[in-house]
């Protein structure tokens, strides 16, 4: 029982991270109908941004201030990278074939991974311990560490913030408009390029938050760190119904829990294959995902 609870706890932490990253995938898909393969690398760049800022100011010891600064640095850096990727790689292709955009996205992703190995070095770096390791409270032999609690709290705040942004602000309304009718939205006076750019930045900022949380929980960062989390989050996004924000969050938690039960009870080497098998099953049985809307092909 205790073991089960521990796995649940870990699954929920990772589910939160998957949810944050999956939101980026699903937002970009919702607005541009493209799979942003480079999203996992924006996540990686966020972690490195925080790493270098913290090293520059020499703030490697645990304290709430340092944690906040690390988080902000990662958010700003990831947001900036997301902005640049959209501006220089995807924007010139706005009118071209869908396959070309997908190919470019793969190119950007590989460029970040291997360019990162040259710039940052291929060996893993140890991320500073920004939160203390102390156990905050114990509940029937399960100890809650500061890191786990912060993961839940920060994810919760981010989700509330995102939901406010999407549902209550003018920008959010414009995002929904561009996402539902990209051809009509500009006629209504929406600057769709600006909205697309904003969407990329918001998604990237969420990835940056996730990156710092993961880097504190598992303090090793390297240029390939995004690949695994990116794949799982992407599966989570498709599983939940790509383009649907609540779907991405639910998908993230289901996948996080599922993977941790799988790892906890044996079959850890099959982890990745399982997420993909799940994905293929979902696509074949219910291609729109859990919460997605089914689109009809029009002539």
């Amino acid at each position: 029982m205790q073991e089960f609870l521990q796995h649940t706890l870990n699954g929920l932490s990772f589910g939160s991270v998957y949810a944050l990253v999956a939101l980026g995938y699903t937002m970009v898909y919702g607005i541009l109908a493209m799979i942003n393969f480079a999203h996992s690398d924006i996540y990686m760049m966020g972690a490195f941004g925080a790493f270098y800022v913290i090293r520059f100011f020499n703030m490697g010891d645990p304290s709430p201030l340092h944690f906040t600064i690390g988080l902000l640095a990662s958010m700003i850096f990831a947001g900036f990278i997301g902005f640049c990727v959209e501006k220089f790689a995807y924007k010139p292709l706005r009118k071209s074939d869908k396959m070309n955009v997908l190919i470019t996205a793969i190119g950007v992703s590989i460029l970040f991974e291997f360019g990162g190995q040259i710039v940052f070095g291929a060996d893993p770096k140890s991320f500073p311990q920004l939160l203390s390791n102390e156990v905050v409270f114990t509940f029937s032999d399960i100890s809650f560490q500061m890191v786990d609690i912060m993961i839940y709290v920060v994810t919760f705040i981010s989700l509330i913030g995102l939901s406010y942004l999407i549902n209550k602000t003018q920008t959010g309304r414009a995002m929904r408009a561009v996402s539902s009718r990209p051809d009509i939205a500009p006629l209504m006076g929406i600057n769709s390029n600006k909205i697309i750019s904003t969407t990329f930045v918001v998604g990237s900022v969420l990835a940056g938050i996730a990156a710092v949380l993961v880097a504190i929980k598992y303090p090793k960062i390297d240029p390939m760190m995004g690949v695994k989390i990116g794949t799982s989050s992407f599966v989570a996004a498709v599983f939940g119904g790509i383009g649907s924000l609540p779907g991405a969050v639910i998908g993230g938690y289901i996948l996080g829990l599922g993977e941790y039960y799988l790892v906890g009870y044996g079959a850890s080497t099959y982890k990745e294959a399982l997420s993909f098998s799940l994905l293929i099953l979902v696509l074949l049985l219910k291609p729109a995902g859990l919460m997605g809307t089914k689109t009809k092909e029009k002539i």
């Binding site: 109908a33 790689a89 396959m99 470019t104 040259i118 993909f276 293929i280 696509l283």
Partner: protein, 310 residues
């Protein structure tokens, strides 16, 4: 036309003999890997360029072909190199069968989703091999039978490349290829005109995975060692880059691109990169710039030897 074929055969043989006599084994190995890359690029080009079905799982089919052929020669047929062509074809057959099975449910999906399913398929193949101790698991499968000397390897791989090229090129210009092209241009219109959409796509996928398996088998016998790591997502991407660079839909473009992109990183090898695979820096930059400036690739849909459009 006959004259051209004779010139081609003479230059093919001459290149082989020149490589054999005057060049070192490093360059000889490069020539073979160019031909294997070209086979892989052609196989992807057929499904993605001609039939417009985006596949990201070519490495999975390659792995199937490579492992089937390697295991067959080593464990059942007693290490004799002259059986390699046979086992390579069996490997290709296994890969084609897998391709057919993948295609059965997949063509309900299109575009991005098909890319994801094929990518997932390749990943599943890789993880299964990784967990399969009988074929070495993560350590890889080594001491695979190799061709005894360069000239044999050159002519066998070369003949397979020519075979692949001829089959795929003739399929491209046949009624079947035109059917696929029609699907590619406008699926609904093609269906209205009586093209059997799902069946044609499935056949195209089967053909593509057959040649991907063939390329994989030759890859295994060329290197003598294969591991699940060689057939990762990066391999699929690399194949995709060859096909896109040469021009999706152009068979000779794929061969040309495989030649340029196999040679280019070797020429640039002297640059200091700190042990990072330089290809993985050049290729994505090339890909992004290409997509922005010349999205149709070097040759577009045209072939090198088609001087005027028919």
């Amino acid at each position: 036309m006959n004259k051209k074929i004779i010139i081609f055969i003479i230059s093919f043989v001459a290149t082989g003999i020149i490589c054999h006599l005057f060049l070192n084994s490093y360059i000889q190995a490069l020539v073979i890997s160019f031909m294997i890359n070209a086979i892989m690029a052609l196989s992807l080009n057929f499904i993605t360029g001609v039939a417009n079905q985006f596949s990201l799982g070519q490495a999975g089919f390659m792995a199937l072909g490579a492992y089937t052929s390697a295991v067959l020669t080593k464990q059942f047929l007693g290490d004799s190199w002259f059986l390699i062509p046979l086992t390579a074809l069996i490997g290709a057959g296994v890969s084609a069968l897998a391709g057919y099975l993948v295609s059965l449910p997949s063509f309900k999906l299109k575009g991005d989703y098909l890319a994801i399913v094929t990518m997932g398929f390749a990943e599943i193949v890789r993880v299964i091999i990784l967990n399969w101790d009988h074929v070495g698991g993560p350590r890889g499968y080594n001491a695979i039978v190799k061709w005894p000397q360069f000239l044999i390897s050159y002519s066998a791989t070369g003949l397979f490349l020519i075979l692949t090229f001829m089959v795929l090129y003739h399929l491209k210009i046949s009624w079947f290829g035109r059917n696929l092209w029609a699907l590619n241009e406008d699926e609904i219109a093609a269906e209205v005109m009586g093209a059997a959409v799902a069946k044609n796509k499935r056949t195209a996928f089967l053909i593509s995975s057959f040649f991907a398996g063939l390329g994989g088998a030759l890859y295994g016998h060329h290197l003598g060692y294969i591991s699940p790591g060689s057939f990762s997502f990066l391999m699929s991407v690399q194949i995709l880059i060859y096909a896109v660079f040469g021009g999706l839909g152009s068979m000779s473009g794929s061969v040309l691109a495989a030649f340029i992109l196999t040679a280019l990183p070797e020429i640039l090898r002297s640059l200091p990169t700190g042990g990072i695979d330089l290809r993985m820096i050049i290729f994505p930059i090339l890909l992004i710039v290409m997509m922005i400036l010349r999205p149709q690739g070097l040759l577009g849909r045209k072939e090198l030897f088609e001087s005027k459009q028919k």
